[in-house]
């Protein structure tokens, strides 16, 4: 073993070693360059972002004490009464929380249905018209990029305060994101079933129904569920601009310094999102499990 290793001539060994070291040096320089670029960018961004570390250090006690202040006063002796005091408006908040969840649900449903209808026309492997495809993809991009709060603000002006504006705003955003994801899922399918249906004389609708749909249905459902969960989370801020849901109360509580209300509502949102997270994850795992069998 050793002899075979030593059998490499000294000159060759030296050349190899030199090559290795050159390579290592080159990579070092590369990482240094990346770090230097990053540092320059940080400096520029710091100027634009008005980073003021001294201010942060001075006021960080505000941050920690804020969490101290929003903590409810709970004592062992009067635990029940204290909790009741903390959640004095539990029925009202629960109703608003249900509002938020239902707004997210309706918006996800509308957005997913619209995205479902359009995605097959936007996928490069199914749709024939290049021009139509380009247009739909740009529409998706527009709906995805314009922030949903901007839509919400405009809809509140147009449709009045209330959940309708929230539903529409989140639905448009969902349409944009799901449209992109659905299109990508369709573009990644196995084309053989599609060709099979096509060769037996199937038209576009039949090709989609029997060739493409069985392959993508489960991933569509899991994307939609994931989006639902995200929408519950972002639906909780829609209320800040008057688009319905629990965000309104949270916003008022933060702005008017009703400290314990803030923690009560936040805790409710976190628990609700966590439950959503667990439930949708279960369903998504089951869906993807089915996918593997197929």
């Amino acid at each position: 073993m050793t002899s075979s290793m030593l059998s490499v001539p000294q000159a060759r060994l030296q050349a190899l070693l030199a090559g290795y070291q050159r390579e290592v040096r080159r990579r070092r320089w590369q990482s240094l360059l990346v770090l230097a670029i990053l540092a320059i960018l940080v400096a520029i961004a710091g100027r634009f972002g008005e980073v003021d570390l001294a201010n942060l250090v001075d006021n960080i006690s505000n941050f920690t004490s804020y969490f101290g202040r929003i903590m409810p006063r709970l004592t062992v002796a009067h635990f029940g009464a204290n909790v009741a005091d903390w959640y004095w408006n539990i029925t009202g908040w629960l109703k608003l929380l249900l509002d938020t969840v239902l707004i997210a649900y309706l918006a996800t449903l509308i957005g997913a249905c619209a995205a479902f209808a359009m995605a097959f026309l936007a996928a490069a492997n199914l749709a024939s018209s290049r021009w139509l495809r380009w247009c739909i993809k740009r529409v998706f991009e527009f709906c995805r990029t314009v922030p949903d709060l901007v839509f919400a603000l405009m809809f509140v002006s147009a449709f009045g305060l209330g959940p309708l504006a929230g539903v529409l705003a989140i639905a448009i955003h969902t349409f944009g994101t799901l449209g992109k994801l659905f299109t990508e899922a369709i573009e990644n399918i196995d084309m053989k079933p599609v060709e099979g249906v096509h060769s037996t004389g199937g038209r576009f609708i039949e090709t989609v129904r029997f060739g493409a749909l069985p392959q993508v249905m489960s991933s569509f459902a899991s994307y939609a569920l994931l989006r639902f969960e995200i929408n519950v989370r972002s639906g909780s801020v829609g209320g800040m601009v008057g688009a319905g849901g629990i965000g309104q109360d949270l916003f008022v509580a933060i702005r008017k310094f009703y400290y314990t209300d803030v923690s009560a509502i936040l805790l409710m949102i976190i628990v609700c999102v966590a439950i959503m997270d667990l439930v949708t994850e279960r369903i998504r795992h089951r869906l993807s499990g089915q996918d593997k069998v197929r």
Binding site: V42, A45, N55, L106, P147, L153, P163, V241
Partner: protein, 285 residues
Amino acid sequence: MSTRRIMPPDDSAAVLDRHRNLFSHSPLQRVLAFAAPFCIGGLAIFAVWWLSIPFSQIGPGLASLGKFIALMFPPSTGGHLDLLLKAMGETLAIAFLGTLIATVVAFPVSFLAAKNTAPHPTIRFAIRRCLDTIRGIDALIWALVFVGVVGLGPFAGILAIAVSDTGALGKLFSEAIESAEERARESVLASGGTGLLAVRFGLLPQVLPIIAGQILYYFESNVRSATIIGIVGAGGIGLQLSEQIRTYDFDQVAFAVIMILVTVAFIDGISSRLRFAIIGRRTVT
């Protein structure tokens, strides 16, 4: 035209029998497949009723929406292009620094939250729950809190994005670490390396490309979310945008939206280039 049969007709029963499991579903599956659309539809109807969605408002609402859109043309800067450009710069700065700080914080934490590198299960559990809690609160709410701490301005936005992304990135990084191949780490340990060396040479080379891809992806999405964070006064173009919508200056709204679209498309282009350069053509998200 004569049909050519590949399979004699009498065999079809046998074939059907062999693939019986593809055609017969259990009663539960049938019920589920039948009931699912009804449940989805029923819940939607309940939601419409519960939220008391006013259908009568849709007509006039669409009419006034049409008016807004008509007002958007032609888009105009309203005479303060410099202000808008500065706000856009702030937005980019918020997204960049926010992502960077979140990465720097989340990276070490994620090792404590990953199953295969956590020093103790209880530490892992505690850190996981912390990350979940941080993630459960929207960036906009963090922005409200930080506006109270460091005052109005983009710095509050940076901190808000940094905190809320620490939760998300910490979770993603720890999942990447957990899914890494154990063999490389074991071989470093077997040749006498310490635990730290094993992580450096056995684990990092595997997870770094995945992590880099995720960071770039989050940077892209942060550029999008930094555009709205200004609504609560945390810097960026959101402040101008919300003011213009409230004052019905829709030509300026259109201009700001176009600016956002162009910037986001530009950033997307750059970062997807970088992502492909780092992890190859097939993206891992």
